[in-house]
């Protein structure tokens, strides 16, 4: 169609086949593959405009469809290099067909695609978040810290005015202890998870729901043979008093395909 000069890219798979995956794309678009060499791009035809909406539900449906196509592609072709949402190619001039633009790109980026494919082969991405409960941990710290014990004993012997000052000091000491501990946990947990992962990206921590604090938020690239051992390690952490783990996946390796590139043609 004349208006559909854009090619929405879902991902690149290690397959030379030109196939139709059917109307499973965003808004039911027909998804198909454009091959070049040993790779094929998974695309649908669209206008050369980004998908935009202020309707959150619609955005969620789009994102789910994007992910659904990648799941199907993985099922069919094995490893898939994922694109982020709204990656749309367009021809630079009238003479070039949109499919040709995709082929030209696959050709131009071939080496990079090979090295990324090598890195992600037989691996998936998993999200790992570890939370702690400050209340429970705080009580443990209070029981174990000699400094806190001493301050508490002193408070009991002080006048109300002095006791107030001591309580403030106590709070400060407890907070510092907690920070010191969090630092140690972070390093400890990271060290325990690292042997199970081929690569790790440290993500920003988010505000957690309820009375929990997110201690670490990691994206892990994990070989399919190491998923079980990672799961066991996380189970152990999850069973520790005051800690809980959120373990999501398998995801396409979204966090491990972006790094290799900064080249913008013409620079």
């Amino acid at each position: 169609m004349e208006q559909e000069k854009g090619r929405y890219l879902y991902g690149v798979a290690a397959s030379e086949s030109a196939v139709r995956l059917g109307p499973m794309g965003i808004e039911g678009c027909d998804v198909y593959t454009i091959p070049y060499g040993d790779f094929c791009a998974i695309v649908h035809n669209c206008p050369t405009e980004p998908y935009q909406s202020t309707d959150e539900e619609m955005v969620k449906r789009w994102v789910s469809a994007h992910q659904g196509v990648l799941d199907e592609a993985k099922e069919r072709f094995g490893a898939v290099i994922p694109f982020g949402f709204d990656t749309i190619l367009q021809p630079g001039d009238e003479a070039t067909s949109p499919d040709q633009v995709v082929k030209d790109w696959l050709k131009g980026d071939y080496e990079r695609l090979c090295s990324i494919m090598e890195k992600i082969k037989d691996r998936d991405e998993y999200g790992v978040q570890i939370f702690y409960e400050p209340g429970l941990i705080g009580r443990q710290i209070a029981e174990q810290s000699q400094e806190i014990q001493k301050l508490k004993e002193e408070i009991a012997t002080k006048s109300p005015g002095m006791a107030y000052i001591y309580r403030q000091k106590l709070e400060k000491v407890a907070k510092a202890e907690m920070e010191k501990l969090a630092d140690r946990w972070f390093k400890d947990f990271y060290g325990r998870l690292k042997p199970h992962c081929d690569d790790i990206v440290i993500e920003k921590t988010r505000k957690a729901d309820g009375d929990r604090v997110m201690l670490l938020n990691l994206s892990c690239l994990v070989h399919k043979e190491k998923v079980d051992s990672l799961g066991r390690e996380l189970e152990e952490i999850n069973n520790m008093d005051g800690f809980s783990v959120h373990f999501s996946g398998p995801w396409p390796p979204y966090s491990f395909v972006a790094k290799a590139v900064v080249s913008i043609k013409g620079e």
Binding site: P82, T87, V257
Partner: protein
């Protein structure tokens, strides 16, 4: 412990990845909005509209993100260790 893809519990995990990550292309191949390649741009920013985005400098953030990726890549190429432990726990920061 088994990983989960339960849609409700992992929606944030999915959005974080699909909207902010994935393979990046040469900018000149991408569709452009107001002369700017739509690339690595967060959808919520796209939703707010490109003009607003430019006005509030989200484009600059993107540029900075790209630079930091480039910097890290250079470190790697030069055989330096990536700064993997540079940002530790949230409260230690």
């Amino acid at each position: 412990m088994e990983p989960t893809r339960d849609t409700h519990a992992t929606l944030v995990d999915l959005l974080d990845r699909v909207l902010d990550k994935g393979l990046i292309l040469n900018a000149d191949l991408m569709i452009h909005v107001a002369g700017i390649p739509l690339l690595g741009v967060k959808l919520n920013a796209a939703l707010a509209g490109m003009e607003t985005m430019l006005k509030y400098g989200i484009w600059q953030d993107w540029d900075e993100a790209q630079r930091s990726i480039a910097a890290e890549e250079r470190r790697r190429t030069l055989g330096l260790a990536p700064e993997e432990m540079s940002h530790l726990s949230p409260i230690a920061r």
